[in-house]
């Protein structure tokens, strides 16, 4: 597999350090808080120190001191607020400080006209040197790249600001520059469509630049990448609203994972190693990095939570026998061998302790009666049970003052799965919510409506299966549940045989759509047998063996796609220069035909459970690697949180 993640990590690190090197001498670094976490993924503080960074400040805290002559700002440039904040800080320092400062501003991922204008209007443009810091994808793992645009979901679906799509297009252009054009771009959803169009547009723009500046965008279809599949989040909101049931997903739901780190009680995971004696520190929380460098975590993360106990148990047993072996050691050579292995064993033990603690904590959470109630409602809604039978249970949750996010997730889930709530029901629940959680949530409910997460059911939306030729405005889960077999009853959680294991019986529609492209055989094998001769299977020929390697794109699943929201597309990128293509075919012997990579891009965020499902899909697919790309990693809570009004009417001096 091409190691994109490492390449990108190395490049981002180099870019950053080069920029820092460009500023001579020691410097103080000012970063915006959103960027600090992502930077931690590529570079350590100690490295920054080697490059002359004395102190690090957060832009939002406004507490930069004058200890160093050089002040370096590092910020995302897409936001005008940041540029304003930087200008403000520069002016403050210029007025308060005794010494002349040299200001540098590194804008990620690119210098913008708007930021320029802001600096100009603030009168600081002349005093600063502005550089671009081309930070796009951040490697979250070897197979996951994220733009880590935390607000991208709210931006896209609440504010209708498509900036992150543009950023995504630029990021993907960099991939194309390095590895060649995506031979095929397949996608679903309006945002996905826009992204595709931008990729084509940028290609023509680049070809103009090419002639004048001699930059080198590969004009050939890639030999290592098979295709790019773009899925728009709003094709499938439902999946995100369900509680994730993988270990990783549950950690994200309960504790929240940010930039591969979680904060957990020291009571749960124990104090950090080497600090056992430092009791003076009132560090009740401990930050933990969790990624695939921890072998144990790599085994656990994608597993359904139900099997975590046995898994941990097995590892504990194995470790114990490993440790006990030392007693039976005889020869010095064997003893040396053991001592050599000791650090590894100790690390494993430490990691086991941490994950046992975390798993216990999750267990406590999942045994909670509210959790089981919520899960039950979710499962019923996902299964298509008449939603009005669930309303009593939801009412009870509201009366019991269950967190608002949880309640809203359920209502939005119903809304997504059933094409809206009945007007009477929606009004009833709105009143209950306003009374229970405060009238400020008039704004919350309105925002959810604008995001198309919570809405009134209207007749025509629901009967949209395949009738119109145009795209439908809502995904019809009711139809897709059968056509793409979103429900799998006999899913095996310990030896998963279907992606539905990540939600204990529900297969995320988003990943099913990816399967429509990559695993046609598999999908057809069961839709065939279960669809009992309905309209779904009529459109394609009854014999399917030929379809596997020959059929590309959405072929065979056109009907299913019609029932999902937004545009469907399948475009091919050809080499600009036919002659060159031919030449290469002759020289290179027509490619090696080895494992190719499929890039799957989620516009508007992906959940960890979906990542796990995609990994399963890769495991069962010997001819392809899957590289997962996204604007950010999300959870249902983050989704609803975007709409949540945090203020109350109580803020007056008592």
């Amino acid at each position: 597999m091409l190691n994109y993640a490492d390449q990108i990590k190395e490049k981002v690190r180099k870019d950053l350090l080069n920029l820092l090197e460009g500023v001579r001498g020691k410097k103080n670094l000012v970063v915006d808080e959103d960027l600090a976490g992502p930077l931690g993924l590529v570079s350590k503080y100690s490295t920054l120190q080697q490059y002359g960074v004395d102190k690090v400040f957060f832009l939002e805290r406004k507490n930069i001191d004058a200890s160093q002559k050089n002040v370096v700002f590092l910020s995302r440039g897409e936001s005008a607020d940041r540029a304003l904040a930087i200008a403000e800080q520069i002016k403050r320092l210029q007025q308060e400080s005794q010494i002349e400062h040299e200001f540098s501003v590194f804008i990620a991922p690119r210098r913008t006209l708007v930021a320029n204008k802001i600096f100009e209007e603030a009168g600081v443009l002349g005093d600063i040197s502005v550089e671009e810091f081309p930070l796009y994808f951040l490697p979250m793992d070897v197979d996951v790249l994220s733009l880590e645009l935390e607000h991208s979901f709210a931006d896209l679906f609440l504010h209708r600001d498509p900036t992150c799509i543009y950023t995504a297009a630029r990021a993907l252009m960099l991939v194309q520059q390095k590895h060649g054009l995506f031979p095929r771009i397949i996608g679903k959803g309006d945002g996905a469509h826009r992204l595709m169009e931008m990729l084509f547009r940028m290609r023509t723009e680049a070809s103009v630049d090419d002639k004048s500046t001699k930059s080198t965008l590969g004009t050939l279809p890639s030999a290592v990448i098979e295709s790019l599949i773009i899925i728009d989040r709003d094709v499938d909101f439902g999946t995100v609203l369900l509680t994730q049931l993988t270990y990783d997903g549950l950690l994200d739901e309960v504790l929240g994972i940010k930039d591969n780190q979680i904060e957990a009680d020291t009571a749960i995971v124990g104090p950090p190693p080497g600090q056992q004696n430092a009791t003076t520190q009132s560090a009740l929380k401990r930050k933990l990095t969790i990624d695939s460098s921890d072998k144990l975590y790599e085994q656990l993360r994608d597993a359904n939570f139900a099997v975590i106990g046995p898994l941990l148990n097995k590892v504990a047993r194995r470790l114990q026998t490993d440790m006990q072996n030392r007693h039976s050691n005889m020869t010095t050579a064997e003893l040396r061998q053991f001592v050599n292995n000791l650090p590894g064993l100790q690390a494993e033990q430490q990691s086991l302790k941490v994950h046992t603690g975390l798993a216990e904590d999750m267990m406590k959470f999942t045994r909670n009666t509210t959790f089981t109630r919520v899960l039950e409602i979710q499962q019923n809604l996902a299964a298509g049970v008449d939603p009005s039978t669930q309303h009593d249970a939801i009412e009870e949750l509201i009366a019991k003052d269950t967190p608002l996010l949880t309640v809203l997730r359920l209502l939005c889930l119903e809304s997504c799965f059933f094409g809206g709530l009945k007007a009477k029901d929606l009004e009833h629940f709105k009143t209950l919510i306003l009374q229970a959680y405060g009238y400020q949530h008039i704004l919350t409910l309105d925002a959810l409506e604008r995001m198309q997460l919570l809405f009134v059911r209207t007749g025509n939306i629901f009967s949209n299966a395949t009738s119109q030729a145009t795209t439908v405005s809502k995904t019809n889960y009711n139809y897709l549940r059968k056509t793409l077999r979103l429900l799998v009853d006999e899913v095996n959680e310990s030896e998963p045989n279907d992606i539905a294991y990540v939600y204990s019986g529900y297969a995320p529609l988003s990943v099913r759509l990816v399967q429509c492209v990559l695993q046609k055989q598999y999908l057809l094998s069961f839709t065939k047998s279960s669809s009992s001769g309905s309209s779904s299977s009529k459109s394609q020929p009854p014999s399917t063996p030929g379809i596997s390697s020959a059929a590309h794109g959405w072929q065979g699943f056109e009907d299913a796609l019609k029932a999902a929201k937004g545009q469907t597309f399948n475009k091919i990128q050809k080499g600009a220069d036919e002659a060159v293509t031919k030449a290469r075919a002759v020289l290179g012997g027509g490619g090696t035909g080895g494992k190719k990579t499929v890039v799957v891009f989620f516009v508007g965020g992906i959940t960890r459970a979906e990542i796990a499902a995609l990994r399963l899909l890769e495991r069962d697919n010997p001819i392809r690697d899957i590289l997962i790309c996204t604007t950010s990693i999300i959870t249902g809570n983050k989704m609803i949180d975007a709409a949540l009004e945090a203020r109350t009417f109580g803020g007056y001096g008592e």
């Binding site: 009870e396 009366a399 019991k400 209950l432 405060g438 009238y439």
Partner: protein, 233 residues
């Protein structure tokens, strides 16, 4: 010429413009593929609307913002809004950026577009950041009034909710006066809970009927309040 790849039409167009042939320049610019080069030139040629459309086409929000900033400072507000009304993307960008910085612009925008609920929500949001209860209630009244003439069917429901908000705040104010405990800002259910916990169940029942809290919900609130007050009688 147009079928030749890689010709910089920007340079040619600029030359034409410098020669005073603006129309020709605009025509030539249509062939320029790079929006980043097209837009600033169009702006300098005072082809604002065209510049905006080209910026929108490119999808580069930075370019769009840049044009919008320029146009806003140049145009009278009403024609600025009119220009926005046919371009949803530009309009939503203006909205998003004005939300934190320029609320009066938003008010005007919503007014001009007849978006009563949005206007009303904006005032509701102002009410939430009001410095005192009385200004908050004033803002709520305003918010309520903006909906009066709206034809939007959901305006009726919104109005009902806004009335209840004021009603609750006033009730809480008098509770705070009579009972010497703070109630302001609590939700209705929380208010009921606190009243019951502190032994004022009569007042609680009164509120319950005023706001039509369903029996079943009220039973739950009572149960939880009594348990937390350890009052098992």
């Amino acid at each position: 010429l147009s079928d030749k790849n890689g010709v910089s039409f920007e340079v040619i167009a600029r030359a034409a413009y410098d020669e005073g042939r603006a129309t020709l320049a605009t025509q030539l610019l249509n062939y320029e593929a790079r929006a980043g080069k097209q837009v600033p030139l169009l702006l300098s040629m005072n082809e604002d609307n065209l510049a905006l459309d080209k910026a929108i086409e490119s999808g580069d929000t930075d370019l769009i913002f840049f044009v919008l900033l320029q146009m806003k400072s140049k145009l009278p507000l009403s024609s600025f809004f009119r220009m926005l009304s046919t371009r949803p993307l530009a309009s939503s960008l203006v909205e998003a950026s004005a939300a934190s910085k320029d609320r009066s612009l938003l008010k005007d925008l919503y007014y001009q577009d007849d978006r009563a609920i949005a206007s009303s929500n904006l005032l509701l949001s102002d009410a939430l950041s009001s410095p005192s209860l009385s200004t908050a209630i004033d803002k709520l009244k305003l918010s309520h009034r903006t909906l009066a003439e709206s034809k939007d069917p959901s305006a009726v429901i919104h109005q009902k909710h806004l009335v209840e908000t004021q009603q609750l705040l006033k009730a809480q104010e008098s509770l705070a006066r009579d009972l010497d405990t703070s109630y302001i800002g609590l939700s209705l259910n929380e208010t009921l809970n606190r009243l019951i916990r502190n032994g004022y169940s009569k007042r609680a029942t009164k509120l319950q009927s005023d706001f039509h809290v369903p029996e079943k919900i009220y039973a739950w609130i009572r149960l939880r309040a009594l348990v937390s007050a350890r009052n098992f009688g």
